[in-house]
């Protein structure tokens, strides 16, 4: 028995605590691999936001049809993601991802406004395409960042 002035109970409690902390560290180190995101997550997110942005440049009823399609595809995407992964990264919940989500909404809203204004007000056919590409890049980038922040939160030392 280690002669360090501690009682037996203190030694075993310390060993138990260390064992529990080691088990927690081992579990945490597995999380990034276990919670790996499918490769199509970011492109799909970018694609959906791009579609929504491009829809703003169209005339009725096409704008409503395309937006309706977007919303339906988003629902299908989330359902497939939840089924495939067994969890859902809700970036809108309280935490670090919420700021990213709000920033994304504002940026995509600006792109949608640019798309609509480009087609209807400024009559510049290239502006909706630029806005669409912008929304794709925002959606793609945010999906990757969102995920990284969420995983960092899951695996961070407590």
């Amino acid at each position: 028995m280690q002669q360090d002035g501690f009682e037996t109970t203190h030694v075993s409690r310390r060993d138990d605590a260390r064992a529990q902390l080691e088990a927690l560290d081992a579990f945490r180190s597995r999380l990034p691999k276990e919670l790996a995101c499918p490769w199509w997550n970011a492109p799909v997110m970018g694609g959906l936001l791009a579609l929504l942005t491009f829809a703003m440049s169209l005339d009725p009823p096409f704008v409503f049809l395309l937006e309706g399609l977007c919303v339906a595809l988003m629902g299908i995407f989330f359902a497939i993601a939840r089924r495939r992964m067994g969890y859902f990264v809700n970036g809108y919940r309280r935490g670090r991802t919420r700021k990213i989500a709000i920033g994304m909404i504002l940026a995509v809203y600006a792109m949608m406004a640019l798309s609509g204004a480009g087609a209807r007000v400024l009559h510049q056919a290239w502006l909706p395409w630029i806005a669409t590409l912008g929304s794709f890049a925002i959606g793609y980038g945010v999906a990757l960042l969102w995920r990284r922040v969420w995983q960092a939160g899951m695996t961070a030392r407590l």
Partner: protein
């Protein structure tokens, strides 16, 4: 996170996880929600703010016991 995913991650049986979740739910540490997925009712787990705070406090206590400066 879905119940089955959590169970596989933790490597425990359904009954062990259910038992612990029931206790954690009673303590306000997790919230359980039933939602359909793939045509079946599934249970989804959400860690509450209270649960996260309790977990942090528990880890700090373990670190103190282990003599680790956290």
């Amino acid at each position: 996170m879905e119940f089955g995913r959590a169970r596989d991650l933790l490597g425990v049986s359904d009954s062990v996880l259910s038992k612990h979740l029931a206790q954690m739910q009673e303590a306000g540490y997790v919230r359980l929600r039933k939602a359909p997925l793939g045509g079946r009712q599934r249970t989804w787990l959400v860690l509450t703010v209270q649960g996260r705070t309790a977990l942090k406090a528990h880890v700090r206590a373990l670190q103190d016991l282990a003599g680790i400066v956290g």
